[in-house]
Symmetry: D3
Subunit: 325 residues, 6 copies
């Protein structure tokens, strides 16, 4: 039996949705969306602790976990309009990155093959490799575009002697063919990493990046419109590193980078994307919580990221669909 | 004698203004404005602690409490240009919400009847019910408009088996007739509460709401202009829940909601409103401080909200009045 | 249906024991012990937040919640040797102390009448009144002795205009006849409260107190021996206010008093008492946690208090019983 | 006028005792004891912040500041049995240690000359120099013994190019003749400072030291008895650096040293000494608070140190005096 | 030998650049830029602790300190393109402001005279007086313009009886002739200090100020353009008080003022200025860190301020120079 | 070149001792003692972060890192009397426990073979396996006794599917023959882990354990005497898990267990052991610091543990050796 419940912390589900077992697709045959926890922080180069991300994200809401969250903005209730399950955490030992990555990929593939859209709660950004790959195994290598919210490009090659880690997942995805460079769009980059050589590598692969100065100068609406135009038709995977936010909005993360996005912009952008594209998977990563419940603003905003993605998804197929707010 | 001093923490006044006794109007016969503490958190559904709001707001300023604060922007000194008193805290036992609400309403009415504008330091948002009602008893039920800064609508009906609490005050005000729905304007709403049914109830009463996406898309100047146009002539009460701010700007609150306002926008808006309307009362609520003095940014910004309201009030009657900055 | 789950935080049970519904005794017909949460902090005179006590105590252990905890010292496994259930939290609104106290008393009585020993997780010390009374309704008013670990006597009369609060429960118990003064033993008192008048009242009722200077001078073994001799035969209720510990060992509490007990002494003493007397109920109160899981040392030690009581209980009826360590 | 109120934080008095002006002895002609704040941290070699010591110590108690604190242990109420005033803070600019030290010495001398016993709230340990000197100017240079609770000897010579600082006050006192080496007793020393040379200097002056290993091996009662025997007859000044406590009991201090005293032992010892000797002054220093009120355990225990000294003083002249507990 | 290393914390250099000794110009004969620590907080009127600013800023980056930081935005690597040294901290005793200021001025002058541009890490804002003066001694009194990012004007006259402190440095600079009023531009002012009299003094000297409402209404690009136009040709000194940022972005500072700038705007503005003017020196002050490394967002953004200034400097002389992003 | 400096945080040495390169024994040919950092937390089952242990321990002292620390108690200066080097951290990737353990074992063996006593700064307790093994490879498998301070036995078999982790190192040591069961002494055990089966396994191997109740009842002197008698003659390795301390004394650790040792007892015990036995290596593990420098009491006491071991070592060969204090 693969259902493990929560690896760290109590065995509860996201906002009270029904539990299931990812290894037994019959337990979620009617699922539209599957929440999966990936409590792994063995790939972190600085402060660890994102293993507690899934636990804290699941506990961050101050309302009753009743399986209902009506959106004020879009007037849909994704948890009711969609069939959402939570399979608990994939068991991942942070001291063995290779095994953990392999097991997570298997889980994501299983869920996707069963017809559900996986929404994965990290964990550090290492998991984007198995997350996207697991989805691509079902939808086709090179077929699934990626929109990547992050302060960092995450296209490093080797770190601390390993190919597996939170600075390298996008390199692995491109190299393996799971992701095509021209279908990979980065949004929110800033700062001083990676170096020229890596950027040259990115350019060769046709990777497109929007920087924070683009967001400031063009506004989030225009940047999102351009991003959507860039990825075009076909299945899309969204990966959100909370450090795309300014540290003021997401202090609980391991490699914060000043000069980032506001929560107001990010929450709108992920919802808009989910309401527009053919979303086949998403993850929210690098949440390093330091308090529980509503006292921690990073897990709180990460939970809202998940919720806005769900809301966008629900809105996309809503009969009452109108122009997004 | 009703003067109690501070219920929690030391007996000091707001920025060093003169103390008085709210139950003895002769002790503040010449008052323009009265500061009242309402250290009640018995109506809180999540983290409590706002009982320390009045104490922390009074202690948050890093300058000497000398009864003078000249505004750089408007070049008035409200604490000198106006006659401001601080009556200390109304004694409120958080374990008895009904008695506490009754006693606070009596205090607010007494102050208002004596000709002073009450500025109440919460406490949780439960107090908006007795605050506005106390003012309306003097100015007339249905006569006092309300501008409500908040992430949440606060128009729930019953919570935890009680009519009295921090999610229901606006429902009580509308139901009692103290506040007319078409004179009630909400600003800063976002997120996932309340549900469709409550919103339908709001629509029936003619309540108008500006969402955070309106603030992002229109700008705070335009939203404020529209809000002022909506409430029109006549007395206005302003209630500011600090969770209208993004948690980055006000982490010290019990039910924070990501995607909120900036301090820069809020401080300008409350000052602009106070400089424009016939202000008859105001409160600042849901400050749940975790540090003292300038180390706590939530009580700090709440104190500045009070100060900007005072500055707007002073500017409105200032001989040197010009267009606000 | 009375089972509410957790009022604050996720619906989980203490260390993974089976859930049940306190209002339906058939759901726990074979119970030896019942865990009940009492998330009430409306009676607090200083910092609130003990409403989160039950949630944090349930989440404090760093091991898997597998319903097993073998004691290294006594070589019993209370969670297996005894039949322990967790009925979740009694729903208590902190803004209505009277109703909350009434409802808790009913729940404690129901559980006791069904043959289980209630172990109640507070909440503030207000709950000792309904806790002991609920037990005494079954075992007889005046029949149930109380051993009270605390820095404070909690025999005040009225506070903030109310008879119900965390400084007065022992007065209510004595006055109602639920508890006889000569069967009430206090352990760990120190400091400067209550005053001479209250102590005179205590002396009249024949209440016995051991001070912290007794613990220092006699040692915890001797003090415990004397306490046990004092309460003598018959049913005993134990109430543990975590502020009996020095603030170094339990910083997360609302009215900490320096000069207190060590965790090593307290954990041994409660286990020794549970292993010796006819225990009919217990509570652990005034846990005001500020972090989750093992990062919070106050909920952690409170959870260990519960566990040591359970271990003592299990040892008392263990076939392998030998002299306690 | 010398009364300044509180230099940092609100103008309140210690536990609600009457305010006065130290420079006008007629405002406290009947004083037995005078509280003085010395909010100076310019002499600190590591973390600063003790300037907030007086403010936080005055606000640390969770009970009403009503000028009464009946001791459970000794059954005296020092704040009523003695005439205690609080003169607020001596104004001290941390950027000018020499001027600040001079002004404080003048204040302490003035108070002492007027017949009151000064209890000074630090501030860093720099203040022990002016504190003891101010007292010695009245009682005679070389006449006032000192009992010094500390992890460190504080007999360094020069630090950061200055004779004035928190590592050197005892050297200054000995050199100036204010304090005689053979009347100087240190209690609680441990660790690795100062070096052999300074210890040789101490030995030459006849200074006696009890180490923490003495406290562990002999017990606090025996060590205190020996200390009292050592200082013998005549006036005694007590200086308590909170870092004499283990960091577990007093984490809020700038140079914490593991392996220290418990609060239970320290509180008893200072009370015992105050109840026994001819106390002519005392200070409590190096409180570097990080939270307000009862949430900060270091200011809390420091406040209790002051209170136990007061209780000992009251007990010494109490008609009901019996052997101390 | 003047090299002292770090006065507080470990002896390390900024991002791994080469160490040198400021008093021996031959150790940095080829320097373009010199990092100097000024760990002084004796001039602080509220919370101290900025003495740890240099240590924490040097340790805040989560990447390896390898002496390389390629800018994503401008594609220069300032640490390689420029010759940057770190001379460690100037030894400054916070208890002697006058001596400390004198010694710092001497160090800044020495470095400037040797041809390097000093970038000084504060410390409180007191240091702006010796910083600018040290530079002006080389470039000419009245010749060096100043762009001043701050919430406060810092043109007070006397504080706590001293001319030297963190509220007065700009007054000292104007009075001494080091800085001409018409070459002094303030950016980011807001709030309630200083008063009308000081502002009148500022007006007489021809000082120009941009307020936060200007930044909101005009945007940071336009405000920066106007600021650059105002200071015109010739050498420019930039001083950045981190409290120009909103407390959400820089909570770790002693006198935070709500309603401030975002990190995104500040980082761009300082880089733009450094890329445009003839920069002859800069400082970053009032960083009061409370955590180490990337867990502290204030030291983190302060470090990025330094880095963006370096990047602007490098870009200005870069062969690849193009329009700034 | 194997010298890596510090993997996390700045490249500094323990208290300012000389740096060296562990892979080049000629760089420390005269070494008595070698400090090695093992910044690995991939084996942690609960909160991670001990990778920062070496960095924080090296920075915790508030005195100048001048390579001298004269012991007040024993009057030796270990850093001068012994030749101590710091080789920085062994590079360990937490995402690959097996490789990290192998590399650390190699480093420890290299240092030991070169004649130095390794003192290793953890890191989680996983490292005890390579630490002791590396020493045993030089001194002989089965020849090196171990004294183990811990709340937990750490003799689990498999955790999270891996043989390598912080709950299993002692099992690995016994199984491999590096450590003989009858030469393995545990001190400080308490609580509820491991279970009966593991304890049976321990009994079969002849492992001896002292519990915290032994320390309370016998005193630390007697327990230490018995422990020394048990291990007898021959080389001894000491491993100190800081969670042997009560959480009050060491809150910064991942699996804290209430009811533990005091710092005063632990510091004496490790010094006494080092002064008595033939010490061939030691480690201090499970320090999970949350603040830097003297603000963190856990790294602080861990650093003092290292220092007391060094002091004991120095005393053992000191000409002035007398009975330990």
């Amino acid at each position: 039996m693969a259902r493990y419940g929560a690896q760290f912390g109590p065995d509860i589900t996201f906002l009270g949705v029904a539990p299931c077992d990812w290894a037994n697709p019959e337990t979620y045959a009617d699922a539209d969306v599957m929440i999966l926890g990936a409590p792994f922080d063995g790939g972190t180069t600085n402060r660890p602790g994102t293993r507690f991300g899934p636990q804290y994200i699941r506990q961050s809401c101050y309302l009753t976990p009743n399986g209902s969250r009506p959106s004020l903005a879009l007037r849909v209730d994704a948890l009711r309009d969609l069939k959402v399950y939570d399979a608990g955490d994939v068991m991942m030992y942070s001291g063995d990155a290779e095994r953990s990555v392999r097991d997570l990929q298997h889980a994501v593939y299983t869920v996707t093959a069963a017809g559900a859209i996986p929404l994965i709660l990290g964990g550090d950004h290492t998991i984007a490799w198995p997350d996207h790959t697991g989805v691509a195994r079902q939808h086709g290598f090179g077929k699934v575009s990626m929109i990547h919210f992050d302060a960092h490009a995450d296209t490093g090659d080797i770190h601390l002697g390993s190919l597996v880690g939170h600075g390298t997942p996008m390199r692995r995805l491109i190299e393996s063919g799971a992701l095509r460079g021209d279908r990979f769009l980065q949004l929110g980059l800033r700062g001083y990493w990676p170096d020229e050589e890596v950027f040259a590598w990115q350019a060769e692969r046709g990777i497109t990046s929007f920087f924070m100065h683009d967001v400031r100068d063009l506004g989030i609406r225009e940047v999102t419109t351009r991003a959507l135009a860039h990825v075009g038709e076909g299945p899309v995977y969204v990966t959100v590193d909370v450090d795309v936010l300014d540290p003021a909005f997401a202090p609980g993360t391991g490699t914060p980078e000043p000069g980032g996005m506001t929560s107001l912009d990010l929450l709108w952008a992920v919802r808009e994307i989910a309401a527009t594209v053919e979303l086949v998977g998403a993850d929210v990563v690098e949440v390093l919580p330091t308090a529980i419940g509503s006292a921690d603003i990073t897990a709180l905003v990460a939970e809202r990221v998940v919720r806005e993605i769900l809301t966008g998804l629900a809105f996309r197929t809503s009969p009452a669909r109108t122009a997004t707010a």
